[in-house]
């Protein structure tokens, strides 16, 4: 073998090994299924593709869980992992999924709304592939996802995304962002099909309230808040005031801007009878000037750089040595959702929704999030779903 071929073989082995190690990890991450245990309230399971044919057989299809009460009433839809790198929403939706008992009305949960984004990550930004939530029976492992859907599922990106139907020019990346592709269309790009199917679900099921769960940077003004259009504003305001008075945490109200298209809190309200609410919990992990993007930072929200910026009043949320732990963020989401449902039921009693057995803020902060998840190994096989 000549000397240049010896060098080539050595280089091939070296690069091949690096690619194989990375490739296997990325492949496993994309195909890892999270076991979730249906609670006593789950009565029916459908797929999002049942509401939009175009999703059948794609990575964007996802489970839709129905928790139907004994008495008729209103309907509420909870969507989490719209942005799969904002996991407090997913964890809160699963607290509802595994524990809620519906007495009146119907609760519909889509825990992994952008299923494609949940199977795609940002190794270049140092994102972890997974994170673990401690429970009494061990650790529950979740995929850490990304803001946008995977290019493996929707490609190519345009130079600029022309929003449908308003024709507003958005960033090219937003064509894969399921919080810019509302209200969607049946024959559009895959993420528009996801939003179209969710709109169809809301229209066909006559959903009264839709809650879209998110997280946002502490340096971003639209954080720690409820974003609501005019039609949802009264309930959002009452919710904000009530959780502050009764449970002691801030969650201000932001009006949904009319000129910024594609967002759930804008388009759901404009294109259906449903009242939309978008909840933002502070998420220090997303802030730019932090230390390494570790699982610890994701879960406890503690960062020395943010602490220093907080002292200079550069953050939009209170921030001290205790950071923004996950249980606090999940607790806020749970309490705000329960309060929105309560306020809606007071306002429209004939469409009332009654949900029991869901912990509120103080209980989640005290017991931790993992306390409310059940062991898939010990649960009846029929109640375990893989998402």
């Amino acid at each position: 073998m000549s000397s240049h071929w010896k060098i080539k073989v050595i280089l091939l082995i070296f690069i091949g090994a690096i690619s194989a190690v990375a490739g296997v990890q990325l492949y496993r991450h994309r195909h890892y299924m999270v076991p979730i245990v249906a609670g006593p309230g789950v009565t029916k399971v459908m797929k999002l593709s049942d509401f939009g044919e175009g999703l059948k057989g794609t990575m964007a299809d996802t489970n839709v869980f129905f928790l139907e009460g004994k008495e008729p009433g209103g309907k509420v839809l909870i969507m989490a992992n719209t942005h799969a790198n904002e996991p407090a929403g997913l964890l809160a939706a699963l607290v509802f999924f595994e524990n809620a008992v519906v007495e009146k009305g119907t609760l519909i949960i889509i825990p992994f709304y952008d299923n494609s984004a949940g199977r795609y990550t940002r190794p270049g930004d140092g994102y972890p592939l997974y994170f673990e939530i401690k429970t009494e029976w061990g650790s529950k492992i979740f995929r850490m996802g990304n803001r946008e859907a995977s290019p493996l599922d929707q490609w190519p990106d345009p130079d600029a995304y022309v929003h449908y139907p308003d024709k507003q020019l958005l960033s090219f990346l937003d064509v894969r962002n399921t919080n810019r592709t509302w209200p969607g269309r049946a024959n559009g790009p895959l993420m528009e099909k996801v939003c179209f199917a969710a709109m169809e679900l809301m229209r066909r099921e006559r959903v009264d309230i839709a809650v879209d769960l998110h997280g946002a940077e502490t340096m971003f003004p639209v954080t720690n808040c409820i974003v609501a259009p005019d039609k949802s504003m009264r309930i959002a305001t009452m919710t904000s005031l009530t959780v502050k008075a009764k449970e002691g945490f801030e969650n201000h109200v932001e009006p949904s801007p009319k000129g910024f298209r594609g967002l759930s809190h804008r388009e759901i309200g404009d294109y259906s009878d449903t009242m939309p609410f978008l909840l933002e919990a502070p998420l220090p992990f997303l802030d730019q000037p932090t230390g390494p993007k570790t699982v610890k930072l994701l879960l406890d929200g503690k960062d020395p750089f943010l602490l220093s910026l907080s002292k200079k009043k550069k953050l939009f949320v209170p921030y001290d040595e205790s950071g923004w732990p996950m249980e606090k963020r999940v607790g806020q989401h749970c309490s705000v959702m329960l309060e929105i449902i309560r306020q809606f039921s007071k306002k429209i009693p004939e469409r009332a929704i009654e949900i029991q057995n869901v912990p509120r803020y103080a209980e989640l902060v005290k017991n931790g999030v993992g306390h409310y998840y059940h062991d898939p190994a010990k649960a009846p096989e029929a109640s375990v779903y893989y998402d």
């Binding site: 240049h4 690069i15 690619s19 990375a22 490739g23 492949y27 493996l152 490609w155």
Partner: protein, 50 residues
């Protein structure tokens, strides 16, 4: 769909060119290394890993 197929064909074509250049390169080991590094994202995309 058609654009996606064309994209994969272009990726395969560029990958084939890189492999050809890698085989033809006889002197510069750093060029050989660069050809291999540039191949990584193309291989991962064609195998639908990343």
């Amino acid at each position: 769909m058609l654009i996606t197929i064309i994209y994969y064909l272009i990726s395969a074509y560029i990958l084939a060119m890189l492999i050809w250049n890698f085989i033809k390169e006889k002197k510069s080991w750093d060029d050989m290394l660069l050809y291999l590094l540039v191949m990584i994202p193309l291989v991962l995309r064609i195998l639908r890993i990343k």
